[in-house]
């Protein structure tokens, strides 16, 4: 069963709205565990477009070196929470734990072989 992790926070709602608009999907059908690549089917260019939408929605710039952290919807929310509210911020009572420790920046063309953070670790 999919978790409703963080969906109630204002930040989360804004992220789900942005993602839903880009993906042309009902935000209710999106879940924090969803991998941008494996579950949402985004290729590298589409991931870049999604990040662009997030940058525009939150009026910030996401550096290339942070791309590798943005593997799941939950990871995007936690990343934005860190950026907007600083390290150690909490979301709906959840500690903003470091994301995808071993992740690497996603190549622009070739699909990375690195796996997204385990869904189990998010529940």
């Amino acid at each position: 069963m999919k978790s409703s992790f963080n969906k109630s926070s204002q930040l989360s709602q804004q992220v789900y709205h942005t993602l839903g608009k880009y993906l042309q999907r009902d935000p209710k059908d999106l879940h924090p565990e969803d991998s941008l690549r494996d579950d949402l089917g985004l290729d590298s260019l589409q991931t870049i477009e999604l990040v662009y939408e997030v940058e525009s929605a939150f009026d910030l710039q996401i550096p290339d070196e942070d791309f590798g952290r943005l593997t799941t919807i939950g990871a995007v929310i936690l990343y934005l929470d860190e950026r907007l509210h600083g390290q150690g911020s909490t979301l709906s009572g959840h500690q903003a734990t470091p994301l995808a420790k071993n992740s690497r920046p996603t190549p622009l063309v070739k699909k990375t072989k690195s796996r997204p953070t385990s869904k189990k670790s998010r529940t």
Partner: protein, 417 residues
Amino acid sequence: MTARVVITGLGIVSPIGVGVPTFWKSALHGKTGITAISSFGDFPMESYRSRVGGQVSDFRLPDPSEDKFSSRVDRYAQFALAATREAIQDSGLDLEKESAERMGVMAGVGMGGMMMGERELTTLYQSRKPHRVHPNFIPTITLNSASVILALAFGAKGPNLTISTACSSSIHSIGQAMQAIRLNQADVVIASGADASITPLVFAGFCSLRALSTKYNDHPDQASRPFDRGRDGFVMGEGAGTLILESLRHATRRKARIYAELAGYAATNEAYHMVIPREDGSDIARTVSLALKDAGVSPSQVDYVNAHATSTVVGDDVEVKGLRAVFGKRLNTIMVNATKSLIGHTLGAAGAIGTIVSALSIQTGTIHPTVNYDDPDPHCALPGLSTKVQKKSVRVGLVNAFGFGSNNAVLVLKKFS
């Protein structure tokens, strides 16, 4: 011996209809697609000298579940996708059975993805934030985005070229498609032309060039009037046309319906001026003669011309001078029509749409009327041009296109036998 090339499928997106049946019905009724341009978003239209255009009003994007490509490209390439989908369906090609490596794409594009181009330019200049430029900007405005998206959508892995020679682009794309088949580089080629650049900047540019009609802003349906004494410039249009070309052998093997044979092609440059044609029409005459020679037909065999006829004062006059140099008095008996009188000048799509019209005219023996030919200009008199439908067998037809930069291109179509 080089392969004979035939036309087996047609598809169109135009200001007088999306889809060949609607377009052809409108054309035969002399329906005009020229209307007032209401606005460019927040732009005040009244500040433009010309305020009329041939816009495609009934184009609907296909459902993403049926077409995942359209949402990724600019409007002109969306038109090309729609026209090509229709053309392939019309041809009866079963893409599952075709060799992908033997299927090519040749696309003619004049302006390309200017809608997104202008939007992103505005975003950058207003925001002063480079990261606000959309990631899909470069893939979208790269001029070959249409030919690439057609290859992706229809699995064509053969030769893939984009040809940009302004208003003659898609005569060249069709001509080069024919050459690829003649050279045995492909069995089937998707030959397309598309443009959708009725945008604030492009429209302003053509206004500044004093190339557009300005006298008929209150009567848009009268603005495009090729060969008429009252003409005062062209009317911008938008659209796409796609033809499926095949080697005769390939078409015969699969028992395809053949609209016409594509028999000749010529491409020249006048080396004269960026926007003005050589006044005596001699290079146009040379191009027509070369195309006829390529087709192996003599001027006496030609009975139809789909004229370039943009409705500019100089251009129409020069075209007739060129035709008269080739055909002499016989030009008076050749049927001529000007498709741009109905839809305006669709730039990169114009040649493809003219070729589609010619193929349909050969197949049906019907020539669509030219509208607004109310007061024939004696300097470019064409007795074979009519404001009414003409019914007469067409055995050999010409399609003309002449682009900025002195680019001339002519195709010769023959009734298939």
